[in-house]
Symmetry: C2
Subunit: 379 residues, 2 copies
Amino acid sequence: MIPDTAEIGFDIPARPGDALSDVMTPALVIDLDAFDRNIARMRAFVTGHGLRLRAHAKTHKSADIARIQMQRGGACGICCQKVSEAEALVRAGITDVLVSNEIHGPRRAARLAALAGRARVQVCVDDAGQVATLSHAAEAAGTRIGVLVEIDVGAGRCGLPPGPAAVELARRIDEAPGLSFNGLQAYQGALQHIRDPQARAEAAHAAARATALTRTALTEAGFACETIGGAGTGSFTLDAGLGEINELQCGSYVFMDADYDRVTGADGSRPGGMENALFVMAEVMSRPGPDRAICDAGLKALSVDSGLPRIDRDGLRYTGASDEHGTISDPRGLLTPGDRVMLVPGHCDPTCNLYDWYVGLRGGVVETLWPVTARGKLY
Amino acid sequence: MIPDTAEIGFDIPARPGDALSDVMTPALVIDLDAFDRNIARMRAFVTGHGLRLRAHAKTHKSADIARIQMQRGGACGICCQKVSEAEALVRAGITDVLVSNEIHGPRRAARLAALAGRARVQVCVDDAGQVATLSHAAEAAGTRIGVLVEIDVGAGRCGLPPGPAAVELARRIDEAPGLSFNGLQAYQGALQHIRDPQARAEAAHAAARATALTRTALTEAGFACETIGGAGTGSFTLDAGLGEINELQCGSYVFMDADYDRVTGADGSRPGGMENALFVMAEVMSRPGPDRAICDAGLKALSVDSGLPRIDRDGLRYTGASDEHGTISDPRGLLTPGDRVMLVPGHCDPTCNLYDWYVGLRGGVVETLWPVTARGKLY
């Protein structure tokens, strides 16, 4: 028996076996059938292309989902963006993590080195200072950290310029106690959301050329790249055909979102045939006028950085968000207070980070609750 | 002795006495001197104008800050937007809460009625169904809930149209067991962010006229309004002079944000002379090019719904956010990895909701840590 929520503040949105209408709103809901199909699609894709998958857990921050990705989703491990996120997932049993990001300073390095005593741990670097700090931490902890050199293949974010600069850094890693040079991080984040299929393909080709240039320079200097990591949900079908990336880092594919629905192929298809599996279920709390209904999901229930959520129901449109209200245009008067509305978030990653729980739904019934294991893990 | 964070996942960003440079980033930092001055300014304002302050806790979600507002900030109580938010703050000792929002359904009503046994509790309604549900819950719990009728004074969100419609609802509340009719909720949310001082003043006058029309209809029907609640940080100096609202509901004034800095008077002054007291402290993690530095605060550390954060330092500009990265334009090369940058968030409320802890800073030293008591309380 779980104690009364109001007494202790342990506020679960539902219990297994509950009907959809019993779930407290706003709730972060997974359509488990669609989710399972996405998991299977990606497994078939990487198997068919002879690639590895290192699924990105920054999307879901869930140890349960990471475990599914590794057990039946074809993933060899997961990616995180932060050391504290990796810690949370390793504490929950995940055994192989790449922090696909630069980390700064001795304290983060020490935490990562400690984690490397409990799981296979890798991280990215783009300058020599990071190599020295990581090496010192790994030596002190008596562990070994795998390192990828990040190159900027077009996103204009972190990373060395493509080409020979990576060789010098690989050499430093190779010579540094406690570190192993494992290859390249060649993720092009900006490419994932390019709308035009032609422009997206060109950006993918440019990234592959930049990667090849760097790989060649490394090979000539005697450094083999066991791993060349990259690709996201918007680009993996392109990247797979270009022969450079051998470890896909897709994250959003498990859920998809309203923004990824705008990243379609020339035939209008979604990347890899993935389908939307994530919703914020909101409830109508007020019906103040003939044209609009007000629901209980606003800026604290949905991230609007990539646009407002979509409602897949004729006649309804989510038109505005304030902190705790969502305005729904409803000129036909379809909604009355208490009605539920399934919103497709504009951007899945930062939306999931707002919640403590996923509500897994199958056939209209709550099948499972999964905690958002690494919610708010920012360090 | 607090156990090792990596072992148990209790991940505090700092300890009292730490230097600013010891705080883990990204961190939600309060400049306590500026915060104290804002608290004192608002107290002086409401005292000088003979008004009550019911400070809005949706901004900070912190029981510590709510307590300061009630003990030395001139507040008679606080506002929340959600029942679960009110529960969290009452659990932490807050004694007087208005849920300044409609709530739907018997479960939320039952939770609110239970809470009314532990604190003074009020809520807003805009339809008869809510009145019946609340009354039933209060009767069942043997408690009493104060009720305000919400009217739409120009925001186009929740609320009855101004005028006689409120009289019928007031009568229902007055006759309903377990409920007390306490007055009107007349908050104009959209008005808070109107940039042009003239247009903002006109909107405030329109809201006051709509409130007066409704108040008069209620008075003529024999219903006195003990409370007419409304006003926010962008409008309270205007509303105070218009004589309708007697209980100010400002929230953002304690912190301010980059968006409120654009809501100035004709002379360029900020509302009520409030100053910025909230920052996200980020750290530079990569310096990949001559023009840019990359910091560790992106979409999961900052809400960008009202624009990107501001940096109050010449030569630096935050130009783009992805999930866990912020791009800073730095053509003069001021920043190297490890440097700290103080970002002024675009919108304080949803930014605070991303964190577990506030770091209170005075004279460059951590003075206190406050939990974000009601973070993620969405029901």
